[in-house]
């Protein structure tokens, strides 16, 4: 893994969003002008704290920070992706609170969501980049093809060129989704487009990875909220993910964990164990090696998450999750056909063993042949 030079010990540099104020006024002012009451703001802050997985004791700090936060310009680039990440975000359940966060940023370019199209849309991007040079946030979803620039272009510009150009003036980059963070499905074997992640290309900017296929919407907004609140990148783990959301594995926070500990497993999707809600490890659950917030944050208005609905975790927020040997193959199983390997090896070795055995025998026979009967004369040298 190449280490981003801007990442020291996994912790990003402070990103100073205070210097420039792309959009005038603080968030507090903006909210008050919209007639949002202080009580509402307190509710917003409490929910934001909960969302960012920060302790409730931080709520007053968050409130103070949000009050004075500046509205950053955000440019969102979509490359080789399926729009799942945007779908996830726009379907975020905490609509009221989330809309507040969205209201507090200036989303200047997002070719799926913006009203403008064609040249107008691209112009908006260029203008935003120019006006907020050095200060805007760059959000990227999708991977970047390197084999042939023609595999994915926007307005005739290759993904690689657009990323390089947009990255230049960015204060920080948020890579959203597993494609942008680790290459994702396009990167899966045999990787026909030569897809790579953002961090494979951009080496001189702080990058925050928000993987998941798609990422949990509140995780995306939580990261944005952190920007707004503290004007810095949250603390990241060794592969660039905010620790607040990716600090613990699904397995460690899974409510089915006690079954794992007791050795109670569902063997099939419809056996007694499955009905009793036992651990899905044997059905291929990647929870033990997957770091994400699904088990606590959950999906669909906090309704459930895959394991709760009876399906093993597929590990979508981890690099190369598509090449992990099959979603339904338990983590402790080899990803290759080992019994065949073993059988071939044994067969080959048996032949070799016979050959070696015969060599040993002939060596011993030679020893017997050259042996001359020992007599008394032979006892002394």
């Amino acid at each position: 893994m190449t280490k981003d030079k801007n990442l020291k010990n996994g912790a990003p540099e402070q990103v100073n969003l205070e210097k420039g104020t792309p959009v005038k006024g603080t968030l507090g002012e903006a909210l008050r002008s919209q007639g949002v009451s202080r009580r509402s703001f307190m509710k917003f802050c409490a929910t934001t704290a909960s969302m960012m997985a920060l302790p409730p004791a931080m709520i007053p700090t968050i409130a103070r920070a949000l009050e004075n936060a500046r509205r950053p310009s955000v440019i969102w680039l979509s490359f080789q992706e399926c729009t799942g990440c945007t779908e996830s975000l726009t379907r975020a359940h905490t609509s009221t609170v989330e809309s507040l966060i969205f209201d507090s940023i200036s989303l200047d370019y997002h070719h799926t969501l913006q009203a403008a199209a064609g040249h107008g849309a691209e112009e908006a991007r260029e203008v935003a980049m120019e006006e907020n040079y050095g200060n805007y946030l760059l959000v990227v979803d999708g991977s970047i093809p390197l084999d042939n620039p023609g595999y994915s272009t926007i307005a005739g510009i290759s993904n690689l060129d657009m990323l390089n150009e947009a990255a230049k003036g960015a204060a920080a980059i948020i890579a959203v989704g597993t494609c942008a963070t680790y290459g994702g499905i396009p990167h899966a074997n045999p990787n026909p487009t030569g897809a790579v992640s953002v961090k494979d290309i951009i080496k001189d900017k702080p990058i925050i990875n928000v993987p998941g296929c798609p990422p949990i919407p509140v995780v995306i907004t939580g990261v944005l909220a952190h920007f707004l609140t503290f004007g810095s990148l949250p603390e990241l783990d060794h592969i660039g993910r905010p620790k607040a959301f990716y600090g613990q594995s699904i397995h460690d926070r899974c409510y089915r964990r006690p079954f794992y500990d007791k050795g109670q497993f569902a063997e099939t999707f419809d056996d007694e164990g499955a009905k009793k809600g036992w651990c899905l490890f044997k059905l291929g659950c990647k929870g033990p090696t997957t770091y994400n917030a699904c088990a606590t944050t959950k999906w669909n208005n906090g309704t459930s998450f895959p394991i709760e609905s009876g399906h093993p975790c597929i590990g979508c927020s981890e690099p190369d999750f598509w090449d992990g040997g099959g979603f339904y193959k338990a983590l402790s199983m080899p990803t290759v056909d080992l019994s065949q390997t073993a059988a071939y090896a044994a067969a080959g070795a048996a032949a070799a063993g016979v050959a070696i055995g015969l060599m040993n025998r002939s060596k011993k026979n030679t020893s017997n042949k050259i042996h001359v009967k020992t007599t008394l004369e032979d006892l002394k040298k």
Binding site: R39, N301, G302, E308
Partner: protein, 137 residues
């Protein structure tokens, strides 16, 4: 499908499923003790703790309902009530579509969000002054 044939999926396991129910209740007990001893208030974010289906409900059920309840209309609804253990409050924030967005247990004499906020009072005064126009009697 005949209801009798409907498979029963027991994913809602018993109370002590993740073993987090009791510890949370104990944490509340300790918080209440601290509140009595030195007035220290506490907030527990129920969404930050891994809970199995049914466990959150189980905690809330244990706490029961007390004398005070309030409904706020702030960015969607919020429901606040004192549990049957005085000083222990349950604060539930909903969004526009009535889904829970956050839920806290607060140990305090009254959750801050219930109090009238100074900025809002200022705003209110201004509004009232505006309402009354120039009539300054």
């Amino acid at each position: 499908m005949n209801p009798a044939e409907t498979p029963q999926f027991n994913i809602h396991a018993g109370n002590e499923f993740t073993w987090n129910v009791k510890p949370i209740l104990h944490e509340i007990r300790h918080a209440l003790q601290r509140f009595l001893d030195n007035g220290e208030t506490s907030i527990i974010d129920l969404r930050s703790i891994p809970l199995a289906p049914g466990e959150e409900e189980s905690i809330i059920e244990t706490l029961g309902r007390g004398e005070v309840q309030a409904r706020l209309d702030v960015l969607g609804a919020s429901e606040i009530y004192e549990t049957k253990y005085t000083g222990v409050w349950l604060v539930t924030h909903y969004n526009d579509s009535d889904s829970i967005v956050s839920r806290f247990i607060e140990v305090t004499e009254m959750p801050d969000v219930l109090k009238s906020q100074r900025e809002d009072v200022v705003h209110a005064l201004n509004a009232l002054v505006t309402e009354l126009g120039t009539d300054k009697t």
